[in-house]
Structure formats: C-alpha cells, structure tokens
C-alpha cells in the first residue's frame, strides 16, 4: 500500500525530535478528544497500485464504448490529434499550479495568451478570458456581466440546451434576476417584444435542435430594446457560420470540449468567454496580459486582478478563482494543430455528414423536423423511441439523444467529421427498418 510519503520511521523520529514533540500523537493532542475520530475511517484499506489499477479497470469495463457515435446535445465525439494528447500530458503543464509567479511560468502564461488570442479570432471578439468551468457556467457568468442597476430581467431563448438553461436558471436565482424564456417557432427562437426591464438576451448558435438561428436579427432586437446580447456558440460551427463579432454580440460564450477533449462522461470541459472592448473589465476569472520586465524583455502576467476575489473579496464580480487551464491549453494546441484549413474541414465534415444522414433518413420514410441545421437535427417517430434506441445500441450504434425522454417520440441526431458513409448508411437502415 503506497501513500507516497517518502519518510521512513527513522526519519520521522528525527523530525519529531527536532520539533520537540515526543510522538506523532503529540501533534494532535490539542484537538478536543470528542472531536477525534474513534478508530479508523470507515472506508476500505488501501492496496497496491497494481491492485488498484485492476479495480479501476473493472469499473471501466462496465461501461460500453460505442464505435459508432451519433449523439451530441452538449458533448461531442471529435477527432483528437495525437500531437494534442502528447503535448498536454507534459508533466510540467500537468503538475503546475496557477502561474502567479510569472518569472517561472512564462510557458503557461504565453500559452494562455495564445488561447485568448485564438478565441478572439475564432469569434471575432475584442477580448477573452483564460476560461471558466464549462459552457453552462460561462453562460451564467455572462448574464452576471451584463447586469445593470435598474433592470432585473434576462430573456433566454427556449431553444437552448436544457442543461445550459438549468444552469442559467440557477445563476439567475442565486443573483435574484428574473428569467423569462422566449417563444419558439419552427425550431427557432421567436422574439416579438423585449420588455424595458430586460438587460440581457441570450441564445445559442446553432441551437439545441441544431437549427441555425438568425443571429443578426436577435442581436439587433436586443440592442434596439436597450438590452445586451449574449451568444452561446458551438465552436466548431464558428469556422463556417457568422461569428458573434460579425453580428455585434456583446458577449460570446460556449463550450470548448470539441477542441481536443474527450467526452469523458461530462467533464472536464472548457468554458470560453469573449467580449467587446467596452465589456473588458466585466469579464470574470483570470486574464493574461503582455508587459515587460524591468530589463525590457517581453513578459506575460495575470492581469486586471482588481476584478477578482483575492483583491475585491465580496465586491468581486464573481467568486471564480481557477480556470480550466489544462483544457484551455488542449484547445490551444488543437486549434494550432488543425489550423485554418483543418478547422474548416472539421466544420464541413459535421455539416455535410448531417445533411447526408438526414437525407438518408427521409428516403427511409423518417420525418426530419426543421431543414436549416448545422450538424444536429431532430427526427420525429411514430412509436416511442425506446425500442429504436435499443436496436441501435444492439448493433453497436450510439443513437441520438431522446429529447423527450426514452418514451417520447423525438431524437436529436448529431454527426461530426468522425462519421463516414458506410456507418451512416447502416444506421439509416436500422432506423428505417424500425419505423
């Protein structure tokens, strides 16, 4: 049983002598007796690494890994280039702490600076932070950024991912904001009127149903009503679709998991946040800036720390302390590895595969709801989708997400660049045969 403690019994005795305490127990004697744990912790005893590995391996083998994946809804099966995995497993990156000591952390700080720069370019925004926990919390933090003294309402698109909506709802309730959802028409956000009390409008691009929203129109409506606009985006789509910067969004957020992170049962993912120059000081979390040292050499540091909790405490704009540094590094290496051309090809793969699959479904008599989608789309079935999903899984296919539950009638399918013609043809057969 390893505890990773280097000290031998002899060394421990030597150290105790130096401290003037006679035994280990003396170090804890001041803790009141009735607060001392009686006996041992009520958990199993430890084991060797080899035995622990076997235990974990057994647990892992109780999970089914599918080879044919057609589910998205917030977690995506994209290709992870080998060079990405390799670089982010470097011990120096993995075991480093937050780069508060800039002189020995220039590598980490520069990589975050690169990340911030790439996020700005991807989204056509002026400034980005060093990341937050995930896309859902990024949306919640964006709402806080837009808060204004005399207004208290947030207008949220009903067509957003339900997980994200729940997170935004939790953030709004925590802060005492009033949250209203928009209407929905034909799988898209429908906004007729925006009340005077609304300080922020938030929507997704593409939305939960995979539909491409008229982002320019939503941003304009928000601004015309005196509200800010937050655009939550699927980063892969940004290589193809109009960006938040192009349509004038005030804040852009989303989840960077598609950029080099595995699905990993939901985390860790990557919340990216970018904003216009005007909103810069409202960004929560860490930000890296460029400066010089006293010899005039280029130097990178954590900056604008006056926004943060360790300076402002209860007057900080958010309590967020850490970011998702290693995930941000992953995305940075991914974007560099893919480059302009690669990112565009990934987006095209997602798009054309989805339209091909939808077309194959239609040919088999499956009803496809909504036409103008990016890489996810909804089908509507005559019977409950439970059996259909089971048939897919039996054949080794992870089906789309049953958005109305396993006994509902609709499935949200997703394709990425990883899907290929043969498996999509096979899937269409299975799904068509079950209808």
């Amino acid at each position: 049983m390893a505890s990773y403690v280097p000290s031998t019994n002899e060394e421990r005795l030597e150290m105790l002598n130096k401290t003037g305490f006679s035994e280990m127990e003396s170090l804890f004697a001041h803790i009141p007796a009735n607060l001392r744990l009686d006996g041992k912790l009520d958990i199993e005893e430890g084991m060797s690494e080899a035995d622990a590995e076997r235990k974990l391996s057994d647990l892992a083998s109780k999970n089914t890994v599918f080879r044919h994946i057609f589910k998205g809804a917030g977690a995506y099966n994209h290709y992870i280039p080998a060079v990405v995995s390799s670089m982010v497993s470097r011990n120096e990156f993995v075991t480093a702490y937050t780069p508060y000591q800039a002189e020995i952390s220039q590598g980490v700080l520069k990589s975050i600076f690169e990340y911030q720069s790439m996020i700005c370019r991807l989204l056509d925004m002026d400034v980005a932070n060093a990341s937050v926990y995930d896309g859902g919390s990024a949306a919640g933090e964006a709402v806080l950024m837009c808060a204004e003294r005399k207004k208290n309402t947030v207008l949220m698109s009903s067509c957003m991912n339900p997980q994200t909506k729940m997170v935004v709802r939790t953030y709004c309730r925590s802060y005492g904001f009033n949250l209203v959802e928009t209407e929905e028409e034909n799988g898209r956000t429908k906004i007729d009127k925006i009340g005077e009390d609304v300080f922020a409008v938030i929507f997704s691009q593409p939305n939960y149903y995979g539909c491409i929203e008229n982002s320019e129109e939503i941003v304009d409506k928000a601004h015309n009503s005196g509200a800010k606009c937050i655009m939550s985006v699927y980063p892969v789509a940004m290589s193809m679709l109009k960006t938040p910067g192009e349509v004038g969004a005030d804040v852009a957020v989303g989840d960077g998991q598609p950029f080099g992170m595995p699905m990993a049962f939901g985390g860790p993912y990557l919340g990216f946040m970018a904003a216009t120059q005007a909103m810069m000081r409202k960004l929560p979390g860490r930000i890296v800036g460029k400066t010089e040292d006293h010899s005039g050499r280029d130097a990178y540091v954590l900056t604008l720390q006056a926004r943060e909790q360790h300076i402002k405490r209860e007057r900080a704009s958010s309590s967020i302390c850490s970011n998702q540094a290693l995930c941000a590094l992953t995305a940075t290496v991914y974007m560099s590895a893919m480059g302009k051309a690669g990112l565009k090809e990934v987006a095209e793969g997602c798009y054309y595969n989805a339209h091909y699959l939808a077309d194959m479904f239609r040919k088999k008599g499956i009803e496809v709801e909504y036409d103008n989608f990016f890489s996810e789309f909804v089908t509507c079935h005559k019977k409950s989708v439970r059996e259909l999903s089971a048939k897919c899984m039996e054949a080794g296919f992870m089906p789309g997400h049953a958005i109305d539950g396993p006994d509902g009638k609709r499935i949200l399918w997703c394709t990425t660049e990883m899907n290929y013609k043969e498996e999509m043809d096979k899937l269409a057969e299975i799904v068509g045969g079950a209808e």
Binding site: A2, M87, K421
Partner: protein
C-alpha cells in the same frame, strides 16, 4: 520568445481531419456564412511540438521541484491517476448514454461520494461543482434554499472571518448575502466573545475552515457551532485545509452542516496550471433535498441518475461534474485507503512542524505550538529592519529552483509567507529548502541589496504589473 503565430506560414498544416466520404446534399445559405478570416496559425507538426516543448521548459510543476504553496496542498500527483483516467472506458463515454451502458461510471461516482461522506462525516455529497469556489457557491445556495424553505426571510448575513480566503465572501455575495467580517483574536482564532455579538437572527451561516488559514486548529469549534446553531444559522466548512485532519477529525463531527472539498488539493489530482479541479459539496440530512441534480441513486437493478428533486437548487454546471478528475481522486483514495489517508495527514502536519521549528526565529509571531499542515511567517520586523519584504524573499527563492510559498495571505498577517510542504516531501528536501530559506534571511539581514532585484536566474525578471493593468494587451 515567440508565440505560435510567429511560426505561421500560409499553406502549412499538420493534422488532417478525416476526408469527406459523402456527397454534398445541400449548401448553407451564403448570408449565414462567416466572411472574416478564421485567423488560426498554419504550422507544421514538428514546429508545433518544438514550440510547446519550449513552453513546457518555462513552466514549473510539482514534478519539477518543491512547491510549498500554503493553502494549495501541492502534494505529489500519482501517475497511476493519469493512467486510470485515460482508460477508454472512462474517456470515450458520452454523458447522455443510457444508464445501463455506463454502470461503471455511475458506480465510481456513487462510491466516491460515499467515501467522501465518510471522510468528512457528511450524509450526502454532490460531485457537480468544478472547483473550490464553485463548491462554496453551491454550498451557500443549499443554505439559502434551506432558510427559504423555512420561510425565514431574515437570514441575510453570512459571517466570514477576516482570515478567510477571498472566495468565501465572494461566493456568499454571489448568492445575495451581506458579508459580516468576524475579527480574529490575538491567537489568530475566531474571537468567540465577539462572535456572540455578531450572531443573531439575521445570520444565515458562518463560513470557516478548520484548521484555519493560519494553519491552526480552532479548538473552540464546538462552542462556535453552538453559538451559530443557537441562533438558527448553519455552519459551512471550506475544505481547503482538509489535508491536516483526514482520519483524525471530521468536519461533520465538529458541527459543520455543509462542506466543500478540493480534489485537486487534498486528493492529489493535478493542478494543470490552474485547472481543471473539482469541488464536491457534502451536507448533512437537513440540506440534502437541495443538492444539485441529477442525483446518483442506487437500486436493486444498479445505478441511475435522478432529476426527481423538487427542491433542488438546480444545476451549477452542465452534466455531472469533472468526471476524469473524480476518477483520479477515486484512484488515490483506493490506493491509500483508511490508513493511508491518515498517514498522509499525519506526515503533512509533521513536515510543517519540522520546517517551522527551523524557521520560527525569523517570524514576528508564532500562533501556536504545534501548527497543523501549514504555517505563516510574519516578516514585518524584517522589513522594517532591512527593507526586504516578503515579496523580495519569495522572488529570491525562485533563483534556487524551488517555488515560493504563498505571499501576503492571510490578510491579517503583515508581510506574510505561508508554507505548506505537504506529506510527499522527503527529509532531505525539507533540509535543503530550510538551508536555502535561512540563507536568504541571512542575506536580508546583511543588507544584501540584490534581493530587491531577484530573481536573476530566471528567463525574465520581475514583470511590470502596473503597466500590464494600465495598458492591457490581452491578445496577439
């Protein structure tokens, strides 16, 4: 010292995604397409690798050297954790897969929750929060929900010691609470007499860490719990310092109603340069119904995810938590087991006391003997005598290839340096570090002016942080 953009040449590329295998059925509407350049660098793989290799050599991790950051618990990150977290059965599963196809993942999370409950003396646990501060915010929302359900609308205040970490009041403010700062007494502990004055029917909760941010176990904790519970408030435990007491004392037994843990501190998961971490939140039965959804349940058929919690505070994050980080912590707990966790805490406390015994003479005050897993040196006198600040000492430490301690925290100690060696350091390392630090103090006392200019052995000297904030340059 270039950035990746400096290596970009038009037409270069490395990774190629799979080739398109299907006919193009339709084209996107041109009015919906992006018109601006994507702007990503175009580099070859060999240059990409050399670039990030260079960066890795300009980083400093626990694997590079001693890292005594007080309050951060920079213990060794076992490599087995990396291996198990990378099992395909853990990385290549989708969070929305049918529950019967992810029983291993659900079992791991359920078992981890159970173990963390027993380690802390709590009744229920969620693994959803992604970090410590996120956990604090979650825990405070549980407390807010509790008072709301009781229809007790007067509970507007959260009490926070002046020695607390900044995330404590910030998290409480995010839930709409007013912060009331509680003074510490001359021993650095909560002033119990003053606390009685502050605790009243407006008190929603008191946030504490025990041992506190000075590394001292507050032996008055039972009295404190009595006072707060006596006025109908709840007690919240910041688990950042749990490494001092595993297998020795449990926050649940001390009277705490809710806790958060830092898997990336106490439970050995790597810090990653600033994340990802994981901040599970545990609570007693009185708060259980408010925990975030979904909740992992176990029945005769196995494990499932339930959203059926009408009083839940909702979700603080998409899906269920930082699962891979949970796998690493679970692996660690499996290897160490009951005795190993206690051994870790015992040795963490011993190592801190060993360092303190050699360095105490340089500090203005020592609060208590023994300290727990960390200690604070107050260097105000040194500064007055020699003009050398805690910052100067810390920056000089950089020149010796070790990471400095935490600077200027907690705020109640002037010119503070907080050391937390952790249990995973050998006596030789501690001896070498003690010699280095003593030599720096001696240099300070002999008016060695070069301390003001340190570090000098690193690739940059002290950065101009004022300029960075005044003229922010935040992208290439």
């Amino acid at each position: 010292m270039s950035l990746i953009f400096d290596y970009s040449q038009q037409g270069r590329r490395c990774s190629a995604p799979p080739v398109l295998t299907v006919p193009k059925i339709t084209e996107p509407d041109p009015s919906e397409l992006r018109n601006t350049d994507i702007g990503m660098p175009e580099v070859a793989e060999v240059d990409l690798v050399r670039h990030y290799m260079e960066f890795s050599k300009q980083a400093f991790g626990v694997d590079d050297g001693f890292y005594p950051l007080g309050s951060c618990t920079m213990k060794y990150n076992p490599k087995l954790n990396e291996r198990t977290a990378a099992f395909q059965g853990f990385t290549d599963i989708h969070p929305l897969q049918s529950p019967e196809t992810v029983q291993g993942a659900l079992e791991l999370m359920y078992d981890l929750q159970e173990k963390l409950c027993r380690i802390t003396g709590m009744d229920a646990m969620t693994l959803q929060p992604a970090a410590g501060a996120h956990g604090e915010w979650t825990g405070l929302q549980l407390i807010a929900a509790y008072h709301r359900k009781r229809k007790d609308t007067k509970r507007t205040n959260v009490l926070v010691p002046d020695s607390a970490h900044g995330t404590n009041p910030a998290s409480a403010a995010m839930v709409g609470f007013n912060i009331v700062n509680i003074p510490s007494d001359e021993n650095g502990l909560v002033d119990v007499e003053k606390l009685k004055n502050y605790a009243d029917e407006n008190t929603a909760a008191l946030m504490l860490t025990n041992p506190n941010t000075l590394g001292l176990f507050d032996t008055n904790i039972e009295k404190i719990a009595e006072i707060i519970h006596g006025v109908g408030g709840l007690l919240y435990y910041d688990g950042a310092n749990l490494n001092a007491v595993m297998g020795i004392s449990r926050p649940g037994d001390m009277g705490f109603d809710a806790v958060h843990l830092n898997l990336h501190k106490t439970f050995s998961t790597p810090h990653g340069g600033g994340g990802p971490g994981s901040g599970p939140v545990g609570c007693k039965k009185n708060l259980q119904e408010f925990l975030p959804v979904p909740v992992i349940e176990k029945n005769k058929d196995g494990f499932l995810l339930s959203y059926d919690r009408p009083d839940s505070i909702g979700k603080v994050k998409n899906f269920y938590g930082n699962f891979s980080v949970c796998v690493k912590a679970y692996t660690y707990i499996t290897v160490l087991g009951a005795s190993g966790l206690k051994e870790a805490s015992e040795n963490a406390v011993l190592n801190a006391n060993y360092m303190l015994s050699s360095l105490r003479e340089y500090s203005d005050m020592i609060y208590h003997d023994p300290c727990m897993h960390e200690f604070v040196l107050g260097l105000e006198s040194l500064k007055k005598e020699t003009g050398m600040s805690a910052l100067d000492i810390a920056k000089t430490i950089l020149d010796y290839g070790i990471h400095p301690p935490t600077m200027y925290f907690p705020l109640i100690v002037h010119e503070a340096l907080m050391f937390e060696p952790t249990e995973t350091e050998s006596k030789e390392t501690l001896d070498r570090v003690i010699r280095i630090i003593i030599s720096i103090f001696e240099r300070a006392k002999s008016d060695d002016e070069t301390l003001h200019d340190s570090p000098s052995a690193t690739i940059i000297g002290r950065p101009d942080e004022v300029k960075a904030a005044r003229n922010p340059v935040l992208k290439y």
